[in-house]
């Protein structure tokens, strides 16, 4: 093999190995970090046609409406639990410790990230309520009703 070929071959090898490692790494990291989105009903009944239910200990995201009257605060610390609902009857309890977002309130749509603790209890690591009073996560509206939710017009439309 002449030196030029050798050089090319080594460059090609480095690129292929590099690409391979990268792809492997990305796929692995993706597998670890893709969090499927559920609504309370989907969590209870299973997702999609196969009715796939998440396993206990699985990381997931859940979105729904905070059931009025279910928010209970622990008196000693910042532990809080509340029930998320959608209108298909699914009820899921969320447990969270920490400060709830400024916009968290009963009846509001929220999205939470967490780990499934038992069939319908989630230990949430993060609770999000968007900085928008009328905001309902589109995923929530869409998944709950199979239809789309409209954003209110004022504030972003000027016509």
């Amino acid at each position: 093999m002449n030196p030029r070929r050798k050089k090319r071959l080594s460059i090609a090898l480095v690129i292929i190995i590099g690409l391979g490692t990268m792809t492997g790494l990305v796929l692995y990291a993706l597998k670890q970090n893709i969090d499927l989105f559920y609504t309370p009903s989907q969590l209870v009944e299973g997702l999609g046609e196969d009715k796939v239910k998440p396993e206990i200990g699985q990381r997931l995201r859940i979105g729904g409406l905070v059931m009025p009257g279910t928010v209970t605060r622990n008196m000693e610390d910042l532990k809080v639990s509340f029930v998320l609902s959608d209108d298909n009857g699914g009820l899921v309890t969320l447990e969270y410790e920490g400060i709830l977002p400024d916009l968290f309130r009963e009846g509001q749509g929220i999205v939470a990230q967490g780990v499934l603790k038992s069939a319908n209890v989630i230990s949430a690591s993060e609770v999000l309520a968007k900085h928008d009073e009328e905001y309902m996560p589109p995923e929530v509206a869409e998944a709950i009703k199979g239809i789309k939710h409209m954003k209110p017009e004022y504030g972003n439309e000027t016509k």
Binding site: E133, P138, K145, I147, M150, E153
Partner: protein
């Protein structure tokens, strides 16, 4: 192998090489076009610009129970006789909540509004009306979205403008607020008369 052939061979490969190079340089373009295809679909995932095909047509036939009095059944006759708004709402819809206060004001100003509670639970809906006041002259209860389907409802809130002959003249998607009511919707409502 003759000298001629020797000369020809690299020529062909040079040509092929050029072609190959062109293909390589086309890769970014192809990748980009694939990405834009997904962006395009993503853009219209929320089909908020869909026009209702029911505008200019009479209200479809239906039979729905009353929200407040479950025994009472309504049909399309309740949507004829005078200009009115048919407001589609649900308790799971925060925008409806935002809109509700203004609907109360409109009702006080004498606007005739019929409510259609959409894919909702009766008990929740009744509690909502109790707490927030009831702007609706008649409240239809459409738990399965049957009429909603016939009307081409694809979101909440939505408001249909119906004239006295029971013909749908206009559909407003999204909430009604002082700005858009005074802007254009009021004029449309006036024209129904």
């Amino acid at each position: 192998m003759t000298d001629d052939e020797k000369k020809k061979k690299p020529l062909i490969t040079a040509d092929e090489k050029k072609k190959k190079q062109l293909m390589t340089r086309l890769i970014p373009l192809i990748v980009f076009l694939c990405v834009s295809a997904f962006l395009y679909i993503g853009l219209f995932r929320d089909a908020t610009v869909l026009e209702s095909t029911f505008i200019g047509r009479p209200v479809p036939e239906f039979a729905l129970n009353d929200l407040v009095e479950p025994e009472l059944q309504h049909d399309k006759s309740v949507l004829t006789g005078q200009p009115m708004l048919l407001n589609v709402w649900a308790t799971w819809c925060p925008t409806c909540y935002a809109e509700h206060k203004y609907l109360n004001e409109l009702a006080e100003d004498g606007v005739y509004i019929v409510g259609m509670n959409y894919k909702d639970e009766r008990s929740k809906a009744l509690r909502w009306l109790e707490e927030l006041d009831n702007p609706y002259k008649i409240s239809l209860y459409d738990p399965d979205g049957m009429l909603g389907l016939d009307l081409g409802v694809y979101g909440a809130p939505e408001t249909f403008f119906i004239d006295s002959k029971g013909i749908i003249q206009f559909k407003h998607v999204g909430d009604i607020n002082p700005r858009n009511w005074n802007g254009e919707l009021k004029a449309i409502y006036e024209q129904l008369k």
